[in-house]
Every structure is written in structure tokens, then in C-alpha cells.
């Protein structure tokens, strides 16, 4: 039995050692901090708010806001937490682990429909999505793509809704083009490998195929629907009730970061590249070629725009019952006067380890 005892002892010791390395009690850190990509530099901040985002240019203002949060007047340090997929974001919001996040608009509507008390307080950006086909594809419109397979990021994405709306507009039946949901990062490679014939997605996954030389833009979102909306800032009502000052600060921060990003596109790419862990050149391409590929102004959600999205979602059966716009949108935090954030570009951007 003594050798068995030794084994048990060894296992316990090894587990304890790994647990120590995992939690590093000598390294005191908040539970949120170990999951954040980057923590805002607010000095003397009294409170912290974690905001979720995905590494898509739609959510670019999120890490910028966190970087600029030293200008916070409510003493809030905004920390951006990077997620990799929307279902996880939705689950985190449902369980109130995340009270403010960027999210695709129809998904926010779906959450509201399911009774999760969330509000759309602001938008992520305008345009910034493209329909991409293979470079050698002679198609001039969707009509030339009948019988082909298209990838969309999620059934709950506005890309899915708008693609179908465009198909109807061109007189194509739903069944004429096969739509498959695919993780955005896989889309450029799937296109190159002929697994799909085209895709509609937010940046930088559309530009990736262009930069790689495998795809070309068939439609810019702005050509299908000027000022196309993909994502919005979604805030849980608990946070709105308990800390309206934080929400006001966050919306102000995003508005000002957006105004800054609009005018400092090369710098914005440089600033977020390490936070996104993406290639700076690719982000620069997205933000500058052409310049109106992405826009970070006009971020106030209007009833008209969101109603249009909801109507499409209802028509497609993605939503079952209408959610009134008054329940969905909360515009009280949007500032009237938006000045670009004052951001000093650091020599080197320090990104916290996971």
C-alpha cells in the first residue's frame, strides 16, 4: 500500500502545484482582470465596468474607449473583454456575467423577445460589411449566383436578413441560394477552397479574401443599404437602473472614440491591432480602402432603421413576435455634442496576458 500512498501523494502535490500556478495567490489580481485584453488607464478610478466585444472592426470603438477611459467623469475604468463568438456573449448577458457588450442587432432583438431585459443604447459602426465572391467569378449580381452556396455569420445576423432582402429584390427565391452559417474566420479559406461560393460578413473577414487575392467585393453594404447596421451596444437594464452614470460615460466614450477613429484611421488600426491580435496591415486596409468602407459616425439608433431590421427578422421567421422599439431602444445616454477623443498614441501598446 505504501507505493499507492506515494502515488496519491504525488497526484495531490502535482494538482496543488498546478492550482498554485493557475491562481498565483502571490499575484493579487481581480477576477475580471485576468480575462480582459486591456484595462483602461483611468487613474483613481472608483469602479470598473467590463464591456464585451469580438475582434471585428464593428466593435473597434470598444477597445478604443477602454484605452481612452482616463477621460471618464464617473470615475469608471472601462475594460474590454474579447469574446470569440456571439452565442457565448448572449449566454454571458443572460446570466448577467456581462452587463454591457457589442452584439449583432437581431440577436439583441431575439434576447429581448425571450425576455432578457436588454436595451440597445448605441451602434457599433455603419457599413463595414461586404458580399464577397471568388476573384475569378464573373457574377455581376446575385442573379448570376443562383444555385450557389453562401456563408453568413449567424442566422441572427443582419447580414443574413439583408442578403435575403436583396435576393427578394432581385427576384430570387430563398431556396435559389443556399445559406450556411460559418464562423467568420473560416470564410476566406472556405471561399478559396470552393467550399462556398460567396459570403456576407463584417470586416476584417471580408477584406481578408481581398488582401489574400482570393476574393473580390460583389456588393459593399453601403450600396445595398446605405448606412448599414451590423452591431449595437447592448446594455442590461440592471446596469441602466443601478449605474446610469457608467452607461452615460460608456456611450460618450464610444461616441468620442468613434469620432477619433473616423479621423485617425491609420492610428486606429495601429492601436487596436495588438488588442485584436490581428494583422495591422489588414486592419489598415479595412479602415482606409476605400475610406467609406467603414464609418464610425451617425451611431444613434433610429426607430426607423431598427424597425426595418425587425420587420425582416419577423418576415424570415427568425423572430416570432414583434418587440416594440420603445422597449428595445434607449437613447437617453447619447451626447448631443460629440468631440473626437484625445488619444495620445503610445510608443508601444502593452496588452495584458490572458
Amino acid at each position: 500500500m505504501s507505493s499507492s500512498f506515494k502515488i496519491v501523494l504525488g497526484v495531490v502535490a502535482a494538482l496543488a502545484a498546478i492550482a498554485l500556478l493557475r491562481f498565483q495567490p502571490w499575484h493579487h489580481s481581480a477576477t475580471v482582470a485576468d480575462a480582459t485584453v486591456h484595462s483602461g488607464p483611468a487613474t483613481g478610478a472608483r469602479q470598473a465596468l467590463t464591456v464585451g466585444f469580438l475582434p471585428v472592426t464593428c466593435h473597434l470603438t470598444c477597445p478604443v474607449t477602454d484605452f481612452a477611459s482616463k477621460q471618464s467623469s464617473s470615475g469608471t475604468n472601462f475594460s474590454s473583454q474579447r469574446f470569440t463568438d456571439f452565442p457565448t456573449v448572449a449566454e454571458a448577458v443572460k446570466t448577467k456575467k456581462l452587463l454591457a457588450t457589442f452584439m449583432i442587432v437581431p440577436l439583441a432583438m431575439k434576447l429581448r423577445e425571450q425576455g432578457v431585459p436588454v436595451k440597445i443604447c448605441y451602434l457599433g459602426h455603419r457599413d463595414g460589411s461586404e458580399i464577397i465572391v471568388r476573384k475569378d467569378d464573373p457574377a455581376k449580381s446575385l442573379r448570376d449566383l443562383k444555385g450557389k452556396t453562401f456563408a453568413i455569420p449567424s442566422p441572427f445576423s443582419n447580414q443574413n436578413l439583408v442578403l435575403h432582402a436583396l435576393m427578394h429584390q432581385q427576384g430570387i427565391a430563398d431556396t435559389d441560394i443556399k445559406c450556411v452559417p460559418l464562423p467568420p474566420p473560416d470564410m476566406p479559406i472556405a471561399l478559396a477552397n470552393h467550399a462556398i461560393d460567396g459570403y456576407f460578413v463584417g470586416e476584417p473577414f471580408a477584406a481578408k479574401a481581398e488582401v489574400d487575392g482570393t476574393g473580390r467585393v460583389l456588393y459593399y453594404a453601403k450600396d445595398i443599404w446605405p448606412h448599414f447596421i451590423s452591431c449595437a451596444l447592448v446594455v442590461h437594464e440592471d446596469l441602466i437602473k443601478e449605474h446610469p452614470d457608467q452607461v452615460r460615460d460608456l456611450v460618450m466614450g464610444i461616441a468620442r472614440s468613434g469620432a477619433w477613429a473616423d479621423g485617425h484611421r491609420v492610428e486606429a488600426a495601429k492601436l487596436v491591432a495588438p488588442m485584436y491580435r490581428q494583422n495591422e496591415k489588414l486592419l489598415e486596409f479595412v479602415l482606409t480602402k476605400p475610406k467609406d468602407r467603414v464609418s464610425y459616425s451617425m451611431l444613434t439608433p433610429t426607430d426607423e432603421d431598427l424597425q426595418k431590421i425587425e420587420d425582416m427578422a419577423l418576415k424570415m421567421g427568425i423572430m416570432k413576435k414583434p418587440v416594440p422599439m420603445s422597449e428595445l431602444i434607449d437613447r437617453q445616454f447619447i451626447p448631443k455634442d460629440i468631440q473626437p477623443a484625445e488619444i495620445k498614441m503610445p510608443a508601444a501598446i502593452k496588452v495584458a496576458a490572458r
Binding site: 502515488i7 470569440t84 449566454e91 446570466t95 473560416d186 478559396a192
Partner: protein, 287 residues
């Protein structure tokens, strides 16, 4: 009372005297060199193919594009940055912690459940269908519930590893108990063994070799599950590293993490295989 070693001696006398040691002694040095060189040779070949394939061209077009298969050198170049930021280390520790916690929990509960199932017909009748049901559910199907119940992070991943290894372990232990020859128990009864003694001196020694094999198999499954679970339910860990690198369109990092995962998997299995060297279970491997 009877000497502690007696039942073991009584039950497996012919096995204990098998000349296993002799077989092992046959030119150990050459064996060691071959077992070291052969895998290295294969590894070198694989690396060479990997390095050559991206450079091949057919009618001026590369056979495989760089974005579809990052060359080994690119993967190598990605190491310093990952080491420097501490990500590689913290991801590895996170995954090891989750598998350590989840797997230990599964062993601590699964093996006793298996013993119970194996020794009581009524318990088996009552619980076996349930165990079988859950054993056939992919642990990944639990991901949404794991996140809703436990949030994002360690507890969700530990739960998934537990679900992946608990049921197969219980089943394997139960099957092992069921295969113990009845004669062992009869002899034990003659010696007046009951309860704890019966468990420690008859049942456990008889099933340990099979249980250890089950441990190795389920640890492999658990390792697969931790990596998959981290892709959605976590904010760190090797699986998350892969998913994150993929979102960032960095296939070189994906390849690097895959290599680390594979190597750690081998290490884990090697560690568990050490259990077969225990004097009490060696009989199970000497054939």
C-alpha cells in the same frame, strides 16, 4: 488474522512466478536507442514534408497556399512572442488545471460508483441505463448548459471534463468487477474476508489493471474535451488559444498550439502509464 499479502499470493501464484523479467533483459541498450531514434526519424520526415509542401508549385501556382498551411519556420517564429507575453504558459497551466480538477473528480466518484454497480445486481439494474445514456452523450452537447450554470471559465470546463470521463470510468470499473472469477470471492469467503478487506485485497487488485487502462483512455478523451470546451466556454486555455488565433487569422499560432496540445497529451499518457509499474498491478500486463 491472516497475513496481509496472503490473498494476493493465493490468488495469483502462477502469474507472479512468470519469468517476465528475463524478457525485458534481452539487450536493453539497443532497444532504448531504437525507441529513441525511430520516433525522431519519423518526426524529422514529417517536418521535412511539412517544410517542402508549401514550397511546391504546379504550373506556377503553389500547391498549398501559405494561408492554408503555415510553414514550420513561421510557426517557430511565433514562439518568442507567445512566450514573452506569458500567454503560452498561462494557457497551458489553465488547461492542465482544468483537466487535473475535472479528471480527479471523475476518478474519485466514478471508480466507487463502478465498484458499487459491479457488486450489486439491484444497483446495476437501477442505474446502468442512466449511466449508459449519459455515457453516449457527447460532453460537448453540455456546453450551453455548462456556460449557463457555471458561467465562463474554470467551473464550466471542469464540469465538461467530468461529464466526459465520469461515465466511461464508472462503466469500465463496473465491467472489470463483473469479470472477476467467482472463485476469487469464494476463496476470500473461506478466509473470512468481508467488506473493506474484501475490497482492498480481492476486488481492487483484481480490477486495477483494467481500471488503469480505462484511466488512460478516458484521460485521452478528457484532454480532447478540455481543448474543445475551452473554445467556447473559456477565456483562456490552449483550446481558447486556438480559437482566438483562428479569429485573428493566425494559423501559425493555431499550429503552434496544436503541437503543444499533442505533446502534453503524450506526456499525460506517459504519466498515467507509470501506474502500470505498481507492484500490485504488474500481473495484469504480464502475458
Amino acid at each position: 488474522m491472516i497475513d496481509e499479502k496472503a490473498p494476493h499470493e493465493t490468488l495469483t501464484p502462477e502469474i507472479r512466478t512468470r519469468p517476465f523479467e528475463k524478457k525485458k533483459q534481452g539487450s536493453p541498450k539497443r532497444f532504448d536507442i531504437a525507441s529513441l531514434l525511430l520516433p525522431l526519424l519519423v518526426l524529422g520526415l514529417v517536418l521535412a514534408v511539412w517544410a517542402i509542401v508549401p514550397t511546391l508549385k504546379i504550373r506556377g501556382h503553389p500547391l498549398v497556399e501559405d494561408y492554408a498551411l503555415p510553414p514550420p519556420l513561421t510557426v517557430l517564429q511565433s514562439i518568442p512572442d507567445e512566450v514573452h507575453t506569458g500567454r503560452l504558459f498561462s494557457d497551458t497551466v489553465a488547461s492542465l488545471f482544468r483537466i487535473g480538477a475535472g479528471f480527479s473528480l471523475a476518478v474519485a466518484l466514478g471508480v466507487p460508483l463502478g465498484l458499487w454497480l459491479g457488486s450489486r445486481r439491484s444497483v446495476r439494474a437501477a442505474l446502468l441505463p442512466g449511466v449508459n445514456f449519459f455515457r453516449n452523450l457527447s460532453p460537448l452537447a453540455w456546453i450551453p448548459f455548462a456556460i449557463l450554470w457555471f458561467g465562463i471559465g474554470d467551473p464550466a470546463a471542469i464540469f465538461l471534463i467530468f461529464m466526459a470521463s465520469f461515465f466511461p470510468l464508472a462503466m469500465a470499473t463496473m465491467a472489470a468487477v463483473a469479470t472477476i472469477p467467482v472463485v476469487h470471492f469464494r476463496v476470500a469467503k473461506d478466509y473470512g474476508f468481508q467488506g473493506r478487506e474484501l475490497l482492498l485485497h480481492v476486488t481492487l487488485p483484481a480490477i486495477l489493471p483494467q481500471v488503469i487502462t480505462a484511466l488512460r483512455v478516458t484521460a485521452g478523451v478528457a484532454w480532447i474535451v478540455v481543448v474543445a470546451a475551452e473554445m467556447v466556454g473559456c477565456k483562456d486555455g490552449l483550446g481558447y488559444g486556438i480559437y482566438d488565433a483562428r479569429s485573428a487569422l493566425r494559423l501559425d499560432l493555431v499550429a503552434l498550439y496544436m503541437i503543444i496540445i499533442g505533446l502534453l497529451g503524450i506526456g499525460l499518457d506517459r504519466l498515467l502509464s507509470q501506474l502500470t509499474r505498481l507492484p500490485g498491478v504488474r500481473w495484469g500486463y504480464e502475458r
